[in-house]
Amino acid sequence: MLRRRRPGRKRKTAFALTGISAAVVSALGFRRRRAKTGAAPDNKAIIRQLFEGTWAGDPDVTDRYVAPTYIGYEPSQESPIEGIDGFKAFIQRFRDSFSNTHVTIEEQIAEDDTVATRWTGRGTHTGEISGIAPTGKDVTITGVSISRIENGKLVEDHTTWDTLGLLVQLGAIPAIRTPEQQQEHFHEHEHEHEHEHEHQAY
């Protein structure tokens, strides 16, 4: 907050006031800078440590960085993930199906209390998932999480990741086609779709 120098003051007083003003401005400015720019790098580090730690199997990092009020939205889960236990259970379900899991943080963008993290997850398919028996395949998936941090703990996040890509890598779904291939595929299977609709009508 700038305090304007009042015109017509005696030079000595004006100088003193200006000196005080400058100190006040400087102090306020310094506090503002620390609150904003100090928070963003810490939040990035929190999310990095949380993601890298949980996927590497660190048992303590979730308690350290996830709030009891945590809620998470994730495409493979029908309902939100809730609380520290919910977060741990979610990670464990995937680690039960994939061994050697680890996540690489590709980039992070942070503003105020929110961090967006683009990541790559890797693992080997050694346990059943979504009815798919273990294939032994190494998988790589990409995704992005938008995380909100309060008082050094994760309180909410929204994650999007390439679920289709995972199923393709596990062989459950054919590879993504170009538009021409897709059109060809659709016409080849057109009659199958027609019969499906007939059965459903009954």
């Binding site: 503003e111 967006a116 683009r118 938008i146 289709l164 779904i173 059109q183």
Partner: protein, 147 residues
């Protein structure tokens, strides 16, 4: 860079992306597409068979918009830092035109996804997105939804 100029950069870049969503994606303005995307624009998430440059981006985006002519994009959340803007969006639309080789299904689609754009001198130079493609394909009926 001072805090004030960092904040200005963030806000200016966010405004570019807001204009992209409103004018290009919602109002379907091709003029604004060419205006806001740099000549050396790269689409890091270009689908198979589509060139990753500005021309390919135009072809893909407007093909998409024409396949869902009543579509609307809503910005749910947006953050920015430096030259990058992250936008979480919700897309709704009805599949009434051919898209990616898929004949129109008439299905109503709702999709949430995230874009990351890099902006330079008021123009978009890079785009990456993450879409729940499985949900998209299931809603289009290309892949069966779980029973």
């Amino acid at each position: 860079m001072s805090e004030r100029s960092a904040e200005d950069e963030r806000e200016q870049n966010k405004e570019i992306i807001r204009r992209f969503v409103e004018e290009v994606q919602n109002e379907k303005s091709e003029d604004t597409y060419w205006e806001l995307n740099a000549a050396d624009f790269v689409n890091l998430s270009s689908p198979p068979g589509i060139p990753a440059d500005r021309d390919g981006g135009h072809m893909y985006l407007f093909g998409f918009l024409n396949a869902f002519p009543d579509c609307h994009f809503t910005i749910d959340d947006m953050i920015a830092e430096g030259d990058r803007v992250v936008t979480k969006k919700t897309f709704t639309g009805t599949h009434t035109g051919e898209f990616a080789g898929i004949p129109p299904t008439g299905n109503a689609i709702t999709l949430q996804f995230v874009d990351i754009m890099r902006v330079r001198d008021g123009k978009i130079v890079e785009h990456w997105n993450c879409i729940d493609q499985l949900s998209f394909m299931q809603q289009l009926g290309v892949i069966p939804a779980p029973s």
